[in-house]
């Protein structure tokens, strides 16, 4: 990438970040935040970090953007006018000092990593033993599998936390529907949802499969699946399931359960999360497919919010 491209990209990233912070209108601020996330993804792409770029655009810009828009909608439905009160001067100055200090700390931490601390070499030497070629997948599912296992449980825990916000009478009814209520847009959204959901399923399966050797993987695939589900729900092609739906519960728990079972089985062969030689790729792909399904369904239901009582609208 040329210097001019990098400079323009940096200016646009800073510009959209500043716009997102300074916008008075909440919707405009969210739109700038989404554009900021996409540009940040481009920056990762320019640094050849394709896996990170995909995760940033899909989760950082996509899912978080939808989450913010839905949060705004729900606050407005509650009668909140979403206007910031004028902040006292000391609070502004304090926030400025705290953020500047944090930025300086992060900068120092990044710069303290010497180029010679490159982990690429040792990992590349270990990759052939796994039978896969994408080093990011190797780190996530083998060398640091413990971290990834915990992350999947955090995601599940977050959904349990969202569900626990529901009033007692709402459980186990489904979350509030996101389907478009206006007659005008309904047909278009419905057709798009019906078209996109199967395509998202194929795309998610492809991303997991290709993630073994090329950029991709369970988290990106799960996000694509969640996106397809959300669009299908908005179009009314799919309804949110009830909280006590058995299939839903299997889908939510499958990924972490398969991961944990394979990890525990490793103890019999030596230690926790040990993959028996010759079966590394098969086990990693099995974990990734079940994880992608669970991540997709979990993310979609987190966006859907807590269950609501049936007579409640919105």
């Amino acid at each position: 990438m040329t210097l001019a491209f990098d400079l323009i990209l940096c200016l646009m990233i800073i510009g959209t970040a500043a716009s997102a912070l300074l916008m008075r209108n909440a919707l405009a601020a969210i739109v700038f935040f989404i554009v900021f996330g996409n540009l940040l993804g481009l920056a990762w792409l320019a640094m050849d970090a394709v896996n990170v770029a995909m995760a940033e655009i899909a989760i950082g810009a996509g899912v978080t953007g939808v989450l913010l828009i839905l949060a705004r909608q729900r606050l407005m439905a509650l009668g909140d006018d979403l206007v910031c009160d004028e902040m006292p001067g000391w609070l502004r100055a304090g926030a400025l000092v705290a953020c500047a200090g944090f930025a300086a700390l992060v900068g120092a931490a990044v710069l303290s990593v010497a180029p010679s601390d490159d982990l690429g070499g040792p990992i590349a030497a270990l990759m052939p033993s796994l039978g896969i070629e994408n080093p990011v997948t190797g780190v996530l599912l083998a060398f640091r599998a413990y971290d990834t296992l915990l992350e999947t449980f955090v995601l599940l825990g977050a959904l349990v936390a969202v569900w626990s916000l529901a009033p007692g009478t709402a459980w186990p009814h489904p979350p509030a529907t996101l389907a478009l209520t206006e007659r005008e847009g309904h047909g278009v959204a419905a057709a798009f949802g019906r078209l996109l959901l199967p395509l998202a399923l194929v795309m998610a399966a492809y991303l997991v499969w290709t993630g073994s050797d090329l950029p991709g993987g369970a988290f990106q695939a799960g996000t694509v699946l969640a996106g397809g589900l959300i669009i299908a729900v908005i179009g009314g092609a799919v309804l949110w399931p009830r909280g006590d739906n058995r299939l839903l519960r299997v889908a939510l728990v499958l990924g972490p359960a398969v991961f944990l079972t394979i990890g525990l089985a490793g103890i019999a062969l030596g230690r926790f999360l040990f993959y028996p030689p010759g079966f590394e790729k098969a086990l990693i792909v099995a974990i990734e497919y079940s994880l992608a399904l669970s991540i997709g369904v979990t993310l979609a239901l987190q966006l859907a919010g807590p269950p609501v009582t049936p007579d409640h609208k919105g």
Binding site: N25, L27, A28, V31, L180, E182, G185, V188, L195, L196
Partner: protein, 99 residues
């Protein structure tokens, strides 16, 4: 290979021209429908030219098919978004316009 060395930049500049035209239309046209018309039609032609340039640059059929799929997805998303926004603008239900 020398011919593609001229064709790729030409395609890229043509794409950028359509993007610029679409953006100009978004800024200068008077109402939601005409703005959406400029944004979704001109920009997708622009993306088509850029995609064509990218496909030629990589020069493999697999890459070309994937890039074509990306373009088709962008077309679908733009078409659906434009329809939804135009319908919403027509009903005048949106009270929280961007200031």
């Amino acid at each position: 290979m020398t011919i593609t060395n001229y064709i790729i930049p030409t395609l890229l500049y043509t794409g950028v021209f359509f993007y610029a035209a679409g953006s100009l239309g978004l800024l200068r046209f008077r109402d939601a429908e005409t703005r959406l018309h400029a944004l979704t039609k001109a920009d997708n032609v622009g993306l088509g030219f850029v995609a064509l340039a990218a496909a030629l640059h990589w020069g493999s059929v697999t890459a070309a098919v994937k890039i074509a799929a990306v373009w088709l997805f962008a077309l679908m998303a733009a078409g659906v978004t434009a329809q939804l926004m135009a319908r919403r603008a027509k009903t005048g239900a949106e009270q929280d316009t961007i200031e």
